[in-house]
């Protein structure tokens, strides 16, 4: 198996809503903690192929693989600040976006 330098997940935008989604085991998820993580090249290619099929099926747009680091609790965190912002929301408006929903939700 081709090893990856970093584990990867797939991120995309929901077509109808426009918000950020990740590809999970059972389809698209709003919560990046539920992303399916690829640890090797084949798994990453399979993830990307599944995502491309979803793009072709007009459920999401702009799907791409993102390098992540896996935290102790198993949470994937993008290595690049751009995707970190996409998982959080505008840094200048902590009351908006996923960061706000997360705070309201399970107290994370």
């Amino acid at each position: 198996m081709a090893a990856l330098r970093h584990p990867q997940i797939v991120i995309a935008s929901d077509l109808a809503q426009g918000d950020v989604v990740v590809l999970g085991a059972a389809g698209w998820e709003r919560d990046h903690l539920r992303a399916k993580i690829a640890y090797d090249g084949e798994a990453a290619a399979a993830l990307k192929a599944a995502a491309d099929a979803e793009v072709a099926a007009n459920r999401v747009v702009d799907a791409y693989l993102v390098d992540v680091a896996i935290a102790a609790d198993g949470a994937p965190t993008p290595l690049h600040f751009r995707e970190q912002f996409r998982f959080a929301g505008p840094s200048v408006r902590p009351d908006l976006g996923k960061q706000a929903e997360r705070r309201e939700g399970d107290g994370r």
Binding site: D19, V61, G89
Partner: protein, 574 residues
């Protein structure tokens, strides 16, 4: 008979709300909304792929950004009625997250609409004669004009009739909707250019020829982005009757010969540069000469119809000096500071132009909450004939306020956090959304603006520093106009972190110049220090009456560069 019956003479006694739609304008916008609703349905059903849908959604102002879709609403030539402003607030509350972002292109951006809601939003805009048509995409974009139009003391003619005339001509143009790249036109009617006509694809200056006839100076091929160019003079005097025909000729030459192999070389500025100005002029003039002019024969009449909507406001006859205003300034220092900075002279005796800053210290440049939009609408109704303007400095203008009312207006604004007395000062920063919202960004820009604004929070100090434009873009596309900022800041990515380049000496006005880099990129934390060093150097070196930009020009970049690199107190190089 309706208020916009073209047979009516100019309306000296009604509010100068600008162009009012007639039944055809309304029907056109409604049809366009219905067309887009159909396109959204086809997209969701899969009949249109994303690649096919993209140009059509962009032509209706709809982007897909980092967190959500973004809808850009046109505010033609920056003029807005109180009713329209209230509707924008309503849209922000109903379909978005309770705020909007006023941009440097006299647009309003909603950052969170859902695709499925956009047709309804466009319908709500159409209810108040607004739209998002051609606020993006490779077409002729919404035409911009001097935000002091109609009230500026140095005006030859109000540029807005020209802008409206062009807006109509360019709307859903059969031939020019799939250009090599976007096409931006700006118009100014004043001596002093507030519309940045030299950094647009076409800049039009209203001028008078020796015979006293009004026409246009046509400037072509300006633009910022990754290869900034100052526009060049294409035609010294274009008679008004030939305006549309001449623009068609320019657009046709551009549509045929503009590069399409590389999107960064597709703007007309590159065509001008590669073809050469003289050769391009020859091509345009040849096309113009070959053209069938008959379709443009009615231009003059149509122009007159449009121009009639832009009469002057029903001003009261007032003395130039307002005792109430003078007394309020004497009694209230905070108000006096506001009056000194945010109030500009008006043509009409006893009136003033008020700039409402959307740059509270440490705030997000250009953002306004729905409540603030409503407060602005109320203020416009109470004190300003119901009219508002959006400036390309991302502020709101109340263009005609009685001096007698200034103090009351200021108190109303202060109550909703809109009385920051910093118009044109160092904290009146133009900033693009950057990586907090924008999918193309390489770095954030808003937090940089906030940090600078906080560093110079003391308004007294800001006034001492005087007029200074800081402009920030979050990538090379230059939406924040950093090239033409006296201080420009460009956010880039360097080795996996955000890094900022500082440029110096840019100027968007008729003396247009592009800023020069002062050194290698610095980190976000260092930006305020660099700016402070530059400012301190200026304060130490300036001569009587010199603005920052003047001192830069007199002393040259080199001296300033050295000052920016001065070591920090802890010995670390900046």
């Amino acid at each position: 008979m309706t208020a916009h019956d073209p047979t009516l003479p100019p309306r000296p006694n009604s509010a100068p709300i600008g162009y009012a739609y007639d039944e055809y304008d309304r029907a056109f916008v409604r049809e366009r909304v219905a067309e887009f609703r159909g396109q959204v349905e086809r997209r969701l059903a899969g009949a249109l792929t994303e690649d096919e849908f993209r140009p059509f959604r962009l032509m209706n102002g709809l982007y897909l950004q980092l967190h959500a879709y973004m809808l850009r609403v046109a505010i033609p030539y920056g003029t807005l009625t109180s009713r329209q402003m209230r509707q924008l607030a309503h849209i922000a509350d109903t379909w978005d997250k309770g705020y909007g972002h006023f941009t440097t292109r006299q647009n309003l951006q909603f950052n969170w609409p859902r695709l499925v809601d956009v047709p309804d939003i466009l319908e709500a805009l159409a209810d108040v004669d607004m739209h998002a048509i051609q606020t993006s995409g490779n077409c002729i974009r919404n035409v911009t004009a001097d935000h002091f139009a109609g009230v500026a003391a140095d005006e030859i003619e109000d540029p807005r009739p020209t802008a409206e005339f062009l807006r109509q001509w360019s709307s859903a143009h059969a031939e020019f909707s799939f250009l090599p790249r976007k096409f931006k036109i700006a118009v100014t009617g004043a001596e002093h250019d507030r519309a940045a006509v030299k950094v647009h694809d076409i800049g039009l200056r209203v001028v008078k020829n020796a015979a006293g006839d009004i026409g246009y100076e046509v400037i072509v091929g300006g633009g910022l982005g990754r290869t900034p160019f100052i526009g060049k003079l294409l035609r010294e005097f274009l008679p008004r009757a030939e305006l549309l025909a001449y623009l068609e000729a320019i657009l046709r030459v551009y549509n045929r010969f503009g590069r399409r192999d590389n999107k960064y070389k597709a703007r007309i500025k590159i065509l001008v540069h590669e073809t050469g100005l003289d050769e391009l002029r020859a091509q345009v003039e040849a096309e113009f000469a070959a053209m069938d002019r008959a379709p443009f024969a009615y231009d003059s009449e149509e122009f007159a119809r449009v121009a009639a909507f832009f009469g002057t406001a029903p001003y009261d006859e007032l003395p130039e000096r307002s005792e109430a205003f003078e007394k309020a300034k004497a009694d209230d220092a905070a108000f006096a500071a506001f009056a000194a900075v945010n109030v500009a002279p008006h043509r009409a005796s006893g009136y003033a132009i008020v700039t409402v800053s959307l740059k509270p210290i440490g705030g997000i440049p250009g953002d306004a909450t729905a409540a603030q939009m409503r407060a602005l609408a109320d203020a416009a109704d109470a004190y300003g004939f119901g009219e508002l303007r959006v400036s390309h400095e991302q502020n709101i203008i109340l263009p005609h306020v009685r001096k007698d009312d200034l103090h009351a207006l200021w108190r109303d604004l202060d109550a909703v956090g809109l009385a920051t007395a910093n118009a044109g000062l160092i904290s009146d920063i133009i900033s693009c959304p950057g990586l907090d919202y924008c999918a193309l960004a390489t770095a954030r820009s808003i937090p940089i603006a906030q940090a600078i604004s906080k560093r110079f929070a003391d308004l007294e100090r800001q006034r001492r520093i005087g007029q200074l434009g800081v402009k920030i873009s979050g990538c090379i596309n230059a939406c924040g106009h950093h090239h033409v900022g006296a201080i420009g800041i460009l956010g880039l990515e360097k080795k996996g972190v955000e890094s900022y380049q500082v440029t110096l000496g840019g100027d968007p006005t008729l003396d247009a110049s592009i800023g020069e880099l002062i050194g290698p990129g610095v980190s976000a934390e260092e930006v305020p220090d660099v700016i402070e060093n530059l400012v301190e150097f200026y304060l130490a070196e300036r001569c009587e009456g010199e603005r920052f930009i003047d001192t830069v020009r007199r002393l040259g970049h080199k001296r300033f560069k050295e000052s920016a690199r001065r070591e920090g107190e802890d010995g670390s190089g900046i």
